[in-house]
Symmetry: D2
Subunit: 293 residues, 4 copies
C-alpha cells in the first residue's frame, strides 16, 4: 500500500502541501487511516515542475516522517505542479529506483496498489514495452512496468487511452495466468500541464481516492484557513486520503474514473480498460483472450 | 518510544530470536502493541557476543522490517548473548550513532524511554561523564549520555549501583531544572556474561517490560513449539513486549526493579536511584538538591 | 570498474581477508592501482558460506572504506568460502540490488568489467533468460543479467560451459548490434564448494586477475607473516589485484582462462565462449551470426 | 581532507556551479588534485539561500559523484549565495550531521582541515561553547565544535573577530595538551549576505584556497565560456581548488588571510587568532597559556 498526492494550480510552497495540513502526507507516512496498513515507511518520492524542461525528482528510501532533506527541499521550492508519494513495499526491494514518482522526459507517474500475481506475468508485460524503452526501466516494481506500458501505448499523446490500454493488457495477461483480479489501484500521471488521476481495480474495490472541492467555495466556508488563502481558485488536489477533516473539502473519486485537471478545470470521465487485440505476444504461446470491458 | 529484546542462554540462531516468534521484534518494528506508538522505524541495532573480546554491532537507519542485511546476518550468526533494539526517535537525528545498542569495550547498552526535558540538562550531564570518556560519545541521544554516565560511575564493576547513580544524577539534575519526572524507561546492559535489565521511571509509570518464564516448564506446556525445543533450560529473555501469546510464557517485570541474569539464574532486585552527593557539578551554579529515594 | 576477491580454503576470519592485507580489498576501495579508476566507492558486497544451505549476503551502497557494519560483521564471522566485491558503477544506479555478489539459491556471482554497449542489447539478453528466472532479476546491471544467462544455461550443472554459453550469447548479440568487443571482465562464481574464476574479454585485453601461489611454499619463504600462518595449505585466493607485495605470492591468471578451485586443488583451463546456435532470438529479427572461437 | 566552494553574486543555477566546470566540485569528489587525498567520498552538503529566512540545507552520506537527488535539486534551484562541501572523514562517523555546511539560524559554516589532537581537547572546547547552544551540537566533528565556538564568541555580530577568538582558543587549548600545531584549514561562513572565508593553520602550511578573479576581465579574456556569460560582474567564488584551468581565473588566497565578500566587493584582511584571556577554563586545571599572534 502507498499514499500519494497530486497538486495542480497556482505556484505553492511544497512545504505547505506536504507538511502543513492536519492529516498531511507526512503524517500519513506513519498514520494512514484509509489504507491496508497505517505505515508507509519504505521510502518516498517528490516530483515537481520548475523552470526546466525536465521536472525535478527527489526520491529516498528513508521514511518520510523524519527525512530532513525532504523538509528542507520542500521549504525552499515552489511549484505549480507537484506529485508526492510515500511507499509501503509489497515485496520488492526498498531502493530509490522503486520509489514513485517515476520519470520519463517531462512525464511523472505514481501508483498506489499493485498488479496482483505480478511475478509470473512480469516477463510478458515487459515484452510489451517498446523495445526502445526497455532498458530505461531501472527498478523492479509493478508500478514502473505499468508506467512503461503506458508510455509504449502513447501516454504522451493520449494519456487516458494509453493507460486504458496498459491496464487492459495487465488484465488480459493476468487472466491468462489465472489471476481473476489483476489490476488494483490509483494512478496519477502528468506532463506538468495536465494531471490525470485514475481509480480502478479489476474487482471494482479500488484503493481510496479523493479530490479537493472548489477552493473558492471552501474559502468562503473556512475564512480562517491559511492554506486556502494561499491557493488560487484554479488549484486542485487529488489525494489517496483527505488531508484534513474540513467538511465539504474532499469528494471521493468514483470507481472506474479518470480525473483530468488542466488550467484549473476538472473533468471526470468513466475509465474502462482497453483489452489488447487478440494477437500473440512475442515470446509467449498464443492463447484465446477475453475482451475486457 | 522503542522496543528491545535481550537474550542470554544457550547459543541461539539470531534469526530465531528476531524473526521466528509470532509477535517478533521485527513485527513490532511496524506493529508494536504496548508502546506509545506502533511504529519503530527510525533504525535498529543488533549486538551479539561471539568469539572476539568485543561484541559485534550492526546498526542501521533503515526500518528493521525490510532490511535484508539484518535478515542475512541474523540467519548466519549464533550467539549466547544478544541485544536487539528498534528505534522510534523522540527528536534526535536518525543516524546509526543514535541507534542502540551502544558499545564500549565489552559492554552494550540499550534503552526504551527518554530523559524528559533532556535539552536543558544535556550539558550538565555530559560534564559528569568521566573526561577520559567524553569524546567517545558519538551520537546525540539521551540514551547514550545515560550509558556514559553509568560507565563513569562504575558500570564495569558494579552495574546496578552505577545505573542507580546515573539515574540518580539524571533525576537530581532534571529537578534542578524544574522537570518533575526526569527519568523514564527500561534499560538493558551486559558484558556478555551477566545481563542487567532495569524498569524504572520517576513517575512510577514505566515503559512495559517482560521476562520469559522458566523454559522447562513452558516446554512441558507447549511440547510442539520449535523455538522452545531449541532453547536450553538456562535460556532467558527480557523484552519490551511479549513475543507471542503463549499463556504463562511472559511475566511482567515490576516497577522499580533490576533483573540480573547470569548462568541461567535470574534474580529480581528492587531498583532505587542513588542521588548524587550534594556538591556542585563543575561548570554549574551550585544549588540545594533533594536526595531521591 | 570494480575489484573483487574470492577465497576458498580453511575457515578464515573474514576480517583477516578483507582488512589485514597491506593492499587489502578495503584499501583498494579508495586506492586501487591496477584498475581504470582508483576509486571503488559505489557500494560493496560480501557473500559467505556458513552452516545454512543459503550463503549469507551483505550488500550496501556506502563506500566500503568507512562502513562500520562491514567491519563488525567481518570481525565476527569465519567462513571457508568468501566472495567480496567493491563497486565502481559504470552508470547504473547505486543501490544494493546492483551490488555484487548476486545470489541465487546456493550460488554467488560477481563481475569486474562490463558488457560494452549494454543498453541496446539488454532486452535481447533478458529474453534469453529462462522465463522462470526472469522476475528474479532485481537490479539493472549488466553483471546480473550475465549471471542469469549463466543460470539459464546450466550454471548449477556445468559452470564453465554455462558461462561460455552466456558470454557467447553476449558476444553474438553485441556484434549483431555493431559492438566489436561486447564482453569485458573477470568473473567469480561458486556454490560454496567449487570456486570458478574467469578472465576473458572480446578484445583479449582483459581486466587484471591474480591467483595466490602455493601457501606452503610462501610460508617457508615468509615465516613471519601471520596471515600465512593461519591459512591451511589448501587455501586459495583469486583477486583483481594482489593484496600485497610479497614476492612470489601472486601469479597472473592468463587471458581467456577459467580457474577451478576445489578441495584445495586448482586447475587452469582455457576459456572459449560458446556461440549460440544460429537460430533467431525470439523477438528479434534473425540474422547471420559468426561463430566465436 | 575535504573540498568546498562558496559562491556569492547574481542568482545562479546551482547545477552550473556544481556540475558544469571542467574540474567541478563533483569531479573533485573523486579526483581532487591539491588535497591530501584525491577522494572525498564520505558525504556532501549543500547550503543555499532562497526566499526563506533560513537557508536550505541538503546533506547526505552518499558520495556526491553519483547522487541523483543532489543533481536534481541542483538542477532546479537558483540562489545568490551557495556553500557546497564534499567530505573526506578524518575518523568521525559518516553521517549527515557530520556533513558540512552546518547551520544555525541564518548562518552556514564549512571547513576543510582539522583540529589536530582533537580528541583530548574536545571536552574543554565544548565547555567553552555557550551553554544555551551546547545541545545544538548534533554531530561529532571538530568542524562543528569550531562553528559553535565562533557562534559563542559573536559570529553573528563580528564574524572575523569571532573566528579569531575561536581559533585562538583552539590553539591555546591544544598547546596546553602538548599539540604544537592545533589548527589547520580553511573555513567559509555566511549569513547569506556577507561571505567570510579564512585560510589559516598554526604551522603556516594551510590547506589550499583560491578566489575567482574579476569576472568582467575574465569574460573579455574568454568570450566563449558560457559559465562566465551567466555571471554578473559582482559574482565571486572561493574554492579549495580551482574549478578549471582558465589562465588568470584563480588567485591563491594567502596564508593567514580572511576574505570578506559583500555586494560584489571583495576585501582581503590579515587573519590573526585572538588568544583567550588567561583565565582557567571551567572544569579544567588552570595553567599558563601563551598568547598567540
Amino acid at each position: 500500500m502507498c499514499r500519494w498526492l497530486a497538486y495542480s494550480g497556482s505556484p505553492v510552497l511544497i512545504e505547505d502541501l506536504l507538511y502543513k495540513p492536519k492529516h498531511s502526507l507526512i503524517v500519513q507516512s506513519m498514520h494512514a487511516t484509509l489504507g491496508v496498513e497505517p505505515t508507509n515507511g519504505d521510502g518516498f518520492g517528490l516530483g515537481w515542475y520548475g523552470d526546466r524542461e525536465t521536472p525535478g525528482l527527489f526520491r529516498s528510501t528513508e521514511p518520510a516522517w523524519n527525512d530532513r532533506n525532504l523538509r528542507d527541499v520542500a521549504a525552499q521550492m515552489t511549484s505549480p505542479c507537484v506529485l508526492a508519494h510515500i511507499r509501503a513495499s509489497t515485496g520488492t526491494a526498498v531502493q530509490a529506483t522503486n520509489c514513485h514518482p517515476f520519470r520519463h522526459g517531462r512525464w511523472l507517474w505514481m501508483h498506489n496498489g499493485l498488479i496482483n500475481s505480478f511475478r509470473p506475468v512480469k516477463r510478458d508485460l515487459m515484452l510489451a514495452v517498446d523495445p526502445s524503452l526497455y532498458a530505461d526501466v531501472e527498478g523492479s516494481t509493478d508500478s514502473e512496468v505499468l508506467f512503461y506500458l503506458a508510455l509504449s501505448f502513447g501516454l504522451e499523446d493520449d494519456a487516458p487511452a494509453a493507460v486504458a490500454r496498459a491496464i487492459g493488457l495487465v488484465e488480459a495477461t493476468g487472466r491468462d495466468h489465472g489471476e481473476p483480479f489483476p489490476m488494483q489501484g490509483t494512478i496519477a500521471t502528468t506532463d506538468g500541464e495536465t494531471v490525470y488521476a485514475f481509480r480502478y481495480s479489476s474487482e471494482v474495490r479500488s484503493r481510496s481516492l479523493f479530490r479537493s472541492a472548489d477552493v473558492s467555495a471552501l474559502r468562503a466556508q473556512y475564512p480562517d484557513n491559511p492554506l486556502l488563502d494561499e491557493l488560487s481558485d484554479a488549484s486542485r488536489l487529488v489525494v489517496s486520503e483527505p488531508l484534513g477533516d474540513l467538511r465539504g473539502a474532499w469528494r471521493e473519486v468514483p470507481e472506474s474514473t479518470c480525473v483530468v485537471i488542466r488550467d484549473g478545470a476538472e473533468e471526470l470521465r468513466p475509465f474502462i480498460p482497453i483489452a489488447p487485440a487478440p494477437v500473440p505476444i512475442p515470446g509467449q504461446a498464443s492463447g484465446s483472450r477475453e475482451v475486457v470491458g
